[in-house]
Chain length 140, copies 2
DNA sequence: GACAGATAGTTTGATATCAAACAATATACC
DNA sequence: GGTATATTGTTTGATATCAAACTATCTGTC
């Protein structure tokens, strides 16, 4: 596998981004959370209360994985579940006060990640890069 | 979410590439192998016999993970271990005949992945993209 | 209204992955 | 030569993740 292979680079960057996320969560005193938990919290901050199924879309993981991740967040007190009143199959996931209180931390972590990733590239390059990545993503 | 676009896209592409790899391995009759196993086989095809420690470098995983991955490849008959004669701590990992026979498959899978990823972009865009990704990768 | 098929989530079992502790061996320094 | 330190790899325990089977509920059609 060639070291300048685009796919290889993407794998490396993805790995580093995840590692950075984990480190930052830790640094902000948010212990025991993986990047995926952060993504869920971010989705809830952005969209408010959402269904499990919507979460599988937002963070692109198997529904059984979402069940496990959400249950952990419930156990840690960041998130709560609520049965839909009209459709009993549906579960709504929302932030607790404790979860909502994470907003400043999550925003700052997001900012840190962005800063680190974009450190060496200009706004124009960023646009170029995003456009190319979108092409690749939509073609795969 | 907009501003995290690039990192988000990289995550998506990484996921799809891994999924494609797994599907292709399966399609070539190489069953029960994850992308990481493919990376190890690829490394061995490229470098010949290597030490465990070298493998952790090549595929960038924890050494205990490498132990597990290699043991599975041994169990499946693709790979063999050999103790170094002068330094007894060292283990050399090499392909068996059965492992070496995978070369054409692995090369074709690699080609397929590349083709799929580069489907919509020109050679020039590819160079631009690789350069930008390298900048990001080295800055993280 | 009953029944077939669709949908929402959970459970179960398996695997890749990591970190920390460990064992075995080699090297350096006195 | 003997002891402290470094290295190579494994073991152990925990977690995220997936796929497949399952449960419960809803919806559409006869």
């Amino acid at each position: 596998m060639n070291k300048d292979h685009i796919i290889f680079l993407i794998g490396r960057i993805n790995y580093k981004a995840n590692r950075l996320l984990q480190e930052e969560l830790e640094k902000h005193g948010i212990r025991g959370l993986a990047p995926s938990h952060g993504e869920i919290l971010g989705s809830l901050l952005l969209h408010g209360e959402v269904q499990m199924t919507k979460l599988t879309e937002y963070i692109d993981k198997d529904k059984s994985t979402i069940t496990a991740l959400v249950n952990k967040l419930v156990r840690l007190g960041y998130v709560k579940k609520r049965k839909d009143t009209s459709d009993n199959r549906v579960t709504w996931i929302g932030l607790t006060d404790r979860g909502a209180a994470l907003k400043p931390d999550i925003m700052e972590i997001s900012r840190t990640l962005r800063k680190r990733a974009y450190e060496n590239i200009s706004d124009r390059e960023k646009d170029t890069l995003a456009a190319l990545l979108m092409k690749i993503n939509s073609g795969m």
